[in-house]
Amino acid sequence: MIKQKMTKWLENVYNCPYLILIMVSSVVAMLSFDEIGIRVMNHIMTQDRTVSVVGDIVKAEEHQTQGEVPVIVEEIQDTGIQDALNQNVVSENLQDELQNAGERKEETDGIENINELNIEIEKSETLEKQEELVKGTTKFLPYTPLEIESRYYSDAGKIALTTEYPYTLENDSYFNDAAFLGDSRTLGIYDYVGLDGADFFCDNGMTIFKLLKDDGVTEQGTGQKVDLKKVLQERHYGKIYIMLGMNELGYGNTTMYLQEYMSVLKQIREWQPEATIFIMANLHISREKNNMATEFNNININDKNVACARLANGTDIFYLDSNPMFTDNEGFLLSELTFDGVHLYAKHYDKWRQFLMEHGVERGDSAAAAVPPVEETMISDTDAVGAVESMEGVQAVDAAPAEGTQ
């Protein structure tokens, strides 16, 4: 009797290989991967959250963004000081990062270096002032920041405004020696703005971290993957527009983003010494898409924008904020301009085109000549050391994203 039962049972087991495969592999997978095992409760929460973002009902409290309406205009006239200030902020953060990474000593040296360099910058700034060069200023509007508990970002507490500068109105030919580097939004500029003369290097999901890596970026128009390092060394560009930051919202943190941005700019500056670099603000997202429970929200985007805006020096690096054209007074992307809450409809890129045309920078030969060679070297030097620092910084915190992106 028992034997009969056993045979029957074994027969049954033999008849269900799929059930057994799935069951065994599930147990193994649940024990080995956090995503479907131990941390599954978090994931259930995430799933629910995803539903509420995509679905119609988004909870009211998730809508707050941008903190309070900005009250005072914090005007930083002297970009030298501002740079110094920025450098300090960066170095503070850097210090935090590295304390965590446990490589403190080496870094404190680095910070001292940076501070010394800041003094040098200030000196060079004063030098420059004496020669009365036209120099743009990047202003920041402060507001009361929100408390954010996220390892990816914090509330910057200010909004970066387009670098103030006597921009000129340009025509299509201005973009003939321009390169655009960016993510899907830049792809949108390529597709719908119609700047035929410019080169576009962009991909969906592009990040500042991937931009100069060996994997390459698609050159739009040819559709070929190219190594941007080579391209930037071989070709000559007068203007380089960069817009990156969206795909970094949930990767690393803002400090790392800033450091990588700095080192990318430094690299580009080395290969393209005469190019005017435009850092373009990342476009905000719509109220429906904004989600405070995830890192996908305008406070994070603004944090990234403020970070990269700090790199604008007003002479050859400018910050362009196109957000005011497309957002409401709370900073949300207007929902009638977008299908997915992230990208503009094709027809609205005309406005962006106008914006790019209106923000031309003519640094004629005279201006270039007027720039004292000392200053040039100074800046590239500071950049170089700063970048070396940040490179180390990135290496030191490299462990962080590895565990952070779990």
């Binding site: 087991v13 008849n15 269900c16 799935i22 995803t50 679905g55 119609d56 977008t338 992230v342």
Partner: protein, 473 residues
């Protein structure tokens, strides 16, 4: 809870199945009901109460319908008829009333206010309880079946509650009839083979949903992101095709998962799709698309109205009612009404004019359906009338301004989505299904479905998985 979520796959389902299988047969209905309520309650902690209340009220009314008073009265039979009618009306008022308040009130109020030019009716902005359109229809179907005597014996409360709430079909159908589950509800044996085949079916459905529907949905989104109005005719058609694939694989995948789960629980859940895109006419398409909904409208609306037996004028009228309601069932907006009435027009025309003539050429029939169906899905997808007309304009080559998504973008999309589109085309044909039925016990199918399952899980974990399209109903 979504079927294609980690919480369902690796928490709810294994725990539930273990309890369900070790429970003695007579407690299984109870375990199933509790499990289903947990399943629903995780996603809808408040509306689960509405669901329970609806089940109890409907059950009470069906009891009332069957109730035979003991005391002998002279015109007992007449009273019984009256009572049954009263119960039926009460049940319908309650069921459709609830559905109306949650789903249609705002739509009606907005339109009435719009016409009146003032705020006569308040906008409630209620959230839609998950699956309300589906379970309401099942409840009404039971009441009508009782009224017409198609349910010979009153169901027990537990059996009735399970018929409505059973988690495989609770939120996205299929819309069951009580007769389809009655015998299994009373007694069912779960064999190991059922578990095995049910799980295979479930994995196949999961793959269709996650690996086809969710991935092709980004193509439609990309094209909609550019915005209707400036799409080249090829881009517009590509978007329409992508959406047609997305909505089919999404819903079909879900239905297949429901069938698989049903099998694992010892039930037989009917097929909801029968290769609809290979139909040769729109009438045929609707006999093969969302079969349980189509037959619901046929049996409970069209035929009671007189069907096609009361002259051709009345037939057209009945068709009009059925299709307007079918449109509205899918959503409370004018584009859904338009969508439903589009089918009314096409089906009436097929019946009265070119239907017979077209049947002479198979190829022509297929071309006809394959051109019409994507266009109807565009009407279904876009609620904004301005955008809808712009998109339909693009599909026939009328552009509002400059063409912005042209050949270059289309070639890029083809590069990115080419293989996926080919897969989609393969999966709208009957061949994968036939292949599955023929070879489902062979080792290569087992390994293939094993890979599909884990690939889907990987996609769920890594990607941001979008919820079912049909969740807004």
């Amino acid at each position: 809870m979504l079927f294609s979520s980690i919480g369902f796959l690796f928490r709810f389902l294994p725990i539930f199945m273990i309890i369900y299988l070790i429970a003695p047969a007579k407690y299984r209905n109870f375990v199933l009901l509790i499990g289903s309520l947990v399943f629903y309650g995780v996603g809808e902690p408040y509306f689960v109460l509405l669901l329970i209340a609806s089940v109890l009220i409907n059950y009470g009314l069906s009891r009332y319908m069957f109730w035979e008073p003991k005391s002998p009265q002279n015109n007992r039979k007449l009273k019984a008829v009256k009572r049954r009618k009263r119960a039926l009306i009460l049940a319908c008022v309650f069921d459709f009333g609830t559905l109306f308040v949650f789903k249609y009130w705002d739509f009606v109020a907005e339109n009435v206010n719009g016409v009146a030019g003032s705020r006569w009716l308040p906008i409630l902005a209620l959230a839609l309880p998950l699956g309300i359109s589906f379970y309401t229809f099942q409840m009404v179907s039971y009441q009508l079946d009782c009224y017409w005597g198609k349910v010979p014996k009153q169901a027990g409360l537990l059996a009735y509650a399970n018929y409505i709430c059973m988690f495989p079909q609770l939120i996205v159908g299929p819309i069951l009839r009580y007769s389809e589950v009655a015998d299994r509800m009373a007694e069912r044996r779960i064999r190991v083979r059922d578990l095995e085949n049910g799980l295979k079916l479930f994995a196949a459905g999961l793959g269709i949903k996650v690996l086809l529907a969710d991935r092709i949905s980004t193509l439609w989104n990309t094209i909609m992101t550019a915005g209707p109005g400036n799409l080249h005719i090829t881009a517009a058609w590509m978007g329409a095709l992508a959406y047609s694939f997305q909505i089919y694989f999404d819903f079909w995948g879900y239905s297949v998962m429901a069938m698989g789960l049903g099998k694992m629980l010892g039930f037989r859940i009917p097929r909801n799709f029968d290769d609809p895109y290979t139909s040769r006419s729109i009438s045929e398409f609707w006999r093969r698309w969302h079969i349980t909904l189509g037959s619901w409208f046929r049996d409970y609306i069209y035929i009671p109205l007189g069907g096609n037996r009361k002259g051709s004028g009345r037939t057209i009228c009945n068709l009009f009612v059925v299709w307007a309601l079918t449109g509205l069932w899918h959503g409370a907006d004018w584009n859904f009404v338009l969508w439903g009435l589009g089918f009314f027009l096409l089906i009436s025309l097929e019946k009265k004019t070119y239907g017979n003539w077209m049947e002479r050429s198979r190829v022509l029939c297929h071309i006809y359906t394959l051109l019409i169906i994507p266009a109807t899905w565009v009407i279904f997808a876009i609620s904004d009338m301005g955008q809808l007309t712009a998109y339909l304009g693009n599909m026939v080559g009328i552009y509002a301004g400059r063409v912005m998504v042209g050949t270059e973008q289309v070639i890029r999309y083809l590069k990115n989505y080419g293989i996926l589109l080919i897969m989609c085309v393969i999966f709208i044909t009957p061949f994968p299904r036939k292949w599955y039925h023929r070879y489902k016990d062979r080792w290569f199918t087992v390994l293939f479905l094993f890979a599909i399952f884990w690939w889907s899980v990987y996609e769920i974990v890594v990607g941001s998985n979008n919820p079912f399209l049909y969740f807004r109903f």
